[in-house]
C-alpha cells in the first residue's frame, strides 16, 4: 500500500501545471516590431548539417527542424525580426518573444507564457529587471541577464532567469547563423 500512496503523491507533485499567458502575442508583436505595417513568416526547414551547426553552437536545435523568423515590414523594407522560443524544464515550458532590429541588435524580450507554478518566479525575475539586460545586446554577445539579477532574487526566480538567458541564446544563434 505504501509504495502505491508514495507513487500517487509523486504523480501529483510531478504534474506539470497549466500554461498561463503573461503577455499576449499581439502585444509582444506590437512592442517588438514597432511601426510594422505588414508581416511575413520566413520558415527555415533546416538540413541535418545546419541543425548540427546550431547544436554545436548552443547545444540546441529545434525539435521539429523548423526555425521561423517573423518579419515586420514598412513600405516593403524589413524593420525588425521576431522569434518565438520555447524553453522546457521539469516545471513545464516557457515561451519567449525575442525582437531584433535589422542590424541584429536585440530590441526587447518578452516572456509570453509560463506555467501556473512558474509564473510567480518569472514575475519576480522580471521585476528585478531581467529583460532590461537583453536590450541593445548585439548578435553574438552572450546574454548575462541571470548573472545580473540572481543576487537580487530567490533561487527559483534565478533559475527562471537562467532559462530565459538560454532561450535568448538559442534565438541569438538561430539569428546569427541563418537570418539573411
Amino acid at each position: 500500500m505504501k509504495p502505491i500512496l508514495l507513487g500517487a503523491a509523486a504523480a501529483v507533485l510531478l504534474h506539470i501545471t497549466p500554461t498561463v499567458i503573461l503577455v499576449k502575442r499581439e502585444d509582444a508583436v506590437a512592442k517588438l516590431l514597432p511601426g510594422a505595417e505588414r508581416f511575413a513568416a520566413r520558415e527555415l526547414h533546416l538540413s541535418s548539417a545546419d541543425s548540427r551547426q546550431l547544436h554545436d553552437a548552443v547545444g540546441w536545435e529545434p525539435p521539429d527542424g523548423v526555425v521561423t523568423f517573423y518579419l515586420g515590414k514598412r513600405q516593403d523594407q524589413v524593420t525588425g525580426v521576431l522569434l518565438f522560443m520555447r524553453v522546457d524544464c521539469q516545471h513545464g515550458p516557457l515561451e519567449l518573444a525575442i525582437g531584433y532590429d535589422t542590424r541584429g541588435t536585440i530590441r526587447g524580450v518578452e516572456v509570453t507564457k509560463a506555467t501556473v507554478e512558474m509564473k510567480p518566479w518569472v514575475l519576480e525575475a522580471l521585476q528585478a529587471g531581467l529583460t532590461n539586460e537583453y536590450r541593445g545586446l548585439a548578435v553574438g554577445q552572450a546574454p548575462t541577464g541571470a548573472e545580473k539579477v540572481k543576487p537580487h532574487v530567490a533561487a527559483m526566480p534565478g533559475y527562471m532567469a537562467e532559462l530565459i538567458d538560454k532561450g535568448v541564446m538559442h534565438a541569438d544563434a538561430a539569428f546569427r547563423l541563418f537570418y539573411r
Binding site: L14, V29, F39, E43, H45, P62, G65, D88
Partner: protein
C-alpha cells in the same frame, strides 16, 4: 462478478455515481480541449502531432539543404497559435497523462467488476478501458515518428475512451438506480 453493485450499500452507489459524474465532466472538458487544441479529424491530429506541424505531409526527413519558405501574414495570423506538439512536449504529455489514464481505467474497471455481466463481457470492457489510452498515445507517437496516417489510431483511442466510459456509466447507473434495484 466479484461484487454486486446493483445490491450494494447506498454509500457505495453514491460513491460510484459521483465518481462517474466527475469523470464524465472531465471527459466533456477533455473533448472540448481536444476540439480547441488538436481537432477531431485525422488531418488536424496529424498537424498537431506530426513531425513539423502543417508541413507534415510534405516533409518528414530533414532536407538535404536548408529550405526557406516565406509567406505574408496578417497580425491575426501571426499571433494565432497553432498548437503543435513537438517531441519534447509529447514526452511530457505522455509522462503526465499515462498515469492518470491508468488510474481512471482502473477505477472504471473496478466498477465494471461489480456489474451483472458475463465474465467475457467484463473482460472485454476492461481490455477496452486500458486499450484506449494505449491507442491514444501510440497513435500520437506513431504519427510523430512513422507517418501522419497513424493519426487515425489516436482518434480511435479517443473514441474508445468515450465508448468505454459510456458503457460502464450507463450499465452502472442502470443497475444501481433503476426501479428494478429499489429496495435491494
Amino acid at each position: 462478478m466479484l461484487y454486486d453493485l446493483g445490491r450494494s450499500d447506498v454509500r457505495v452507489r453514491w460513491l460510484v455515481t459521483l465518481l462517474l459524474a466527475t469523470l464524465g465532466a472531465s471527459y466533456v472538458f477533455g473533448a472540448w480541449m481536444v476540439g480547441l487544441y488538436a481537432g477531431f479529424s485525422t488531418r488536424a491530429v496529424a498537424e498537431t502531432y506530426g513531425p513539423a506541424g502543417e508541413a507534415t505531409m510534405v516533409m518528414q526527413m530533414p532536407p538535404e539543404t536548408t529550405m526557406v519558405v516565406e509567406r505574408n501574414l496578417s497580425v491575426a495570423e501571426m499571433t494565432e497559435e497553432q498548437h503543435h506538439v513537438d517531441r519534447n512536449l509529447l514526452v511530457q504529455d505522455t509522462h503526465v497523462h499515462m498515469p492518470m489514464y491508468a488510474v481512471i481505467a482502473a477505477a472504471l474497471s473496478v466498477i465494471a467488476l461489480g456489474l451483472a455481466l458475463p465474465r467475457w463481457a467484463a473482460l472485454w470492457i476492461i481490455v477496452l478501458l486500458f486499450a484506449a489510452p494505449w491507442l491514444d498515445f501510440a497513435g500520437m507517437w506513431l504519427t510523430k515518428l512513422v507517418s501522419p496516417r497513424f493519426a487515425v489510431v489516436t482518434l480511435a483511442g479517443g473514441w474508445a475512451m468515450a465508448l468505454g466510459y459510456t458503457i460502464v456509466a450507463a450499465l452502472a447507473l442502470w443497475e444501481m438506480w433503476s426501479p428494478r434495484s429499489e429496495g435491494k
